[in-house]
């Protein structure tokens, strides 16, 4: 039976793997470990953007729609814009809260009244600390939320009554909760939009609309542009600090993951190098012999490179599988939600593992330089 060279190649290849299974197993463990962590981090990196932008949406509005800031009448928009905002682009909007700010008095002291939709404010600012309880209904005309500085100023606590007056109009409300937001909100009193509009005598008017929009910074930018096109005469602008912070955090996380993967790959390469160096010592005599028998260097090296590539493919596959489980576990611990495995990570993991294996096989590649006469003499 005549065998083609390729068949003999694979025959030698199989025997080579069988003969060196101890050392190769060590290299495979190193490769699988490196591939597992790399695969987990890549999965996390791809999912982190989505997970983090979701998290960011609980940190308040990231887009504001407001009339141009020139002239007092122009500073108020028609509340009907809410229909136009949440209509066509509703899928990207997590929450939308209109605000009407009214300069009112509580007793003799002035206070800023913010009329809004309580349900949307709660959704947008879930991180606010509330002593007492949220007002959950947007139509609740008898309750209010009071910022902690204002509550201290007026001596209010949950359940207290407060009388508010603007010009000739007044309203009496029950304090449902005291909020701590860490910003200007701490000095304000939040009522339903209707109450503020009636008190100010500005029915159907709002000062601005705050939006919480999901997506990456670039997606939010695109959304803003699109919305501005549908709302002529109004300013639609992203909250720059928040968008910049999101972009910066995402970039830093990606950078951290990239360099961690690089470090892991370097360490994995060193592990594979150590195994391959020992293997090269063991095989130097065989390579010398093969060269003495007339074996072309490239044909001998193809055996070792095929071996390294096979190691990379197997190590990458094992690593990817473990990496998916690792990513799920890490996702659960960090984000409270399992990371979804990305198939795109599989070929990347395999490519990285093969690259590491081929780099780690450097000592075997150097065997091509052995001089058969010296090896056969036992030098």
């Amino acid at each position: 039976m005549t065998l083609r060279s390729r068949s003999m190649f694979w025959r030698i290849f199989r025997q080579l793997l069988r003969a060196s299974r101890g050392r190769l197993t060590v290299a495979l463990i190193a490769l699988s470990s490196g591939a597992a962590v790399s695969s987990a981090l890549l999965n996390i990196n791809l999912d982190a953007e989505q997970k983090l932008t979701h998290e960011f949406r609980t940190l308040g509005a990231n887009v504001v729609v407001a009339p141009p800031s020139s002239g007092s009448d122009a500073a108020l928009a028609d509340a009907a814009i809410m229909d136009r905002i949440v209509g066509p682009s509703a899928t990207q909007i997590v929450a939308a809260a209109p605000y009407l700010y009214v300069a009112a008095n509580a007793g003799t002291q002035p206070v800023i009244l913010a009329g809004t939709w309580f349900d949307q404010v709660a959704k947008m600012n879930s991180w606010w600390n509330v002593d007492g309880s949220w007002v959950t209904s947007r139509d609740d005309r008898s309750h209010c939320l009071v910022g902690q500085a204002a509550a201290r100023q007026f001596g209010l606590a949950p359940g207290s009554q407060i009388d508010l007056r603007a010009g000739e109009r007044n309203v009496s409300l029950t304090v449902s909760g005291i909020i701590t937001a860490g910003g200007a909100e701490d000095s304000q009193i939040f009522t339903s939009l209707d109450v503020a509009q009636n008190l100010a005598g500005l029915p159907g008017r709002v000062s601005l609309v705050q939006l919480s929009v999901s997506g990456t910074p670039s997606e939010i930018e695109a959304f803003t542009g699109h919305l501005a096109g549908t709302l002529p005469g109004l300013e639609v602008r992203p909250v720059r600090q928040l968008a910049a912070a999101e972009g910066s955090i995402l970039a830093r996380i990606s950078g951290l993951i990239f360099w961690t993967i690089m470090l892991i790959l370097v360490l994995t390469t060193l592990g594979v190098l150590a195994s391959m160096a020992a293997l090269a010592m063991e095989r130097s005599r065989d390579v010398g012999l093969m060269k003495a028998l007339g074996g072309p260097v490239e044909r001998i090296m193809h055996l070792f490179l095929a071996e390294a590539a096979a190691l990379g493919i197997v190590g990458g596959t094992i690593g990817f599988t473990i990496g998916v489980m690792l990513a799920r576990w890490i996702g659960g611990r960090v984000f409270g939600v399992a990371i979804s495995p990305r198939l795109a990570v599989f070929p990347v993991t395999i490519a990285l593992a093969v690259a590491v294996a081929l780099t780690g096989a450097l000592p075997l590649r150097l065997l091509g330089r052995v001089r058969p006469a010296e090896i056969l003499r036992g030098e």
């Binding site: 025997q15 065989d286 003495a292």
Partner: protein, 222 residues
């Protein structure tokens, strides 16, 4: 007809050490030559140069019309697989390949593999029931017979045997010498490096080296 091997003023240096110098001789096709001499006399260096494992420092070595000193590494590799059959004292089989695969390895490096031809080569050396055995499962004599089958498989012009019985007991030595005798009778050209006067006396001629120089070329004492 030109001799199969022509060596003229061969010199080989390893740094300051002259391993061979002023060595000249010729070998006709079909001859059995014994290369003899004490340890360090340059026998193995000579056979390595003839086998294309080493370059001469100066002088001319021509085997089958190919001047070895002029060959590139790639051409030397081709030369070894086409023209030379090696038999080493230490057998030098690949430990993880079976007897059959060790013979097929030489075919693989030469051209294409033919399993039945490799099995026939092993049958000729009396190892038809050892085809699938690994070297570690074979005796020293059996391993050397595998090496001889491997050396013959590509029909080389020249068989170079470096102390082929050096690691064998008397029985196995006799077997290997019988095999070499058969090869010689079949027209193969054989160079055997040996310390043994008995083996030297089996050859057609003896090339004797001393301190890297050609001491004499003699006929065997029968």
């Amino acid at each position: 007809m030109a001799p199969l091997v022509q060596v003229e003023n061969l010199e080989k240096r390893f740094d300051a050490i002259r391993a061979l110098y002023h060595v000249s001789f010729e070998i006709e096709a079909g001859e059995w030559i014994a290369i003899m001499g004490p340890s360090g006399s340059g026998k193995t260096t000579l056979i390595n140069i003839l086998g294309g494992l080493d370059h001469p420092t100066s002088g001319r070595v021509v085997v089958d019309d190919m001047e070895i000193g002029q060959l590139s590494e790639r051409e030397l590799t081709r030369y070894r697989s086409d023209k030379i059959g090696f038999v080493f004292q230490q057998f030098h089989l690949v430990p993880y390949l079976t007897a059959l695969e060790n013979v097929m390895l030489a075919q693989y490096f030469h051209s294409i593999t033919d399993e039945s031809e490799a099995a026939e080569a092993l049958r000729r050396v009396g190892l038809e029931d050892r085809l699938e055995h690994l070297p570690a499962q074979l005796s020293g004599g059996e391993q050397q017979r595998v090496a001889i089958a491997r050396a013959l498989i590509n029909h080389p012009k020249l068989i170079l045997a470096d102390e082929p019985t050096g690691n064998l007991d008397e029985d196995n030595e006799a077997t290997i010498l019988n095999l070499l005798h058969e090869l010689h009778s079949a027209g193969h050209t054989i160079l055997v490096v040996t310390h043994s006067q008995a083996i030297g006396n089996l050859a057609d001629r003896r090339i004797e080296l001393e301190h890297g120089r050609l001491a004499r070329i003699s006929l065997p004492v029968r």
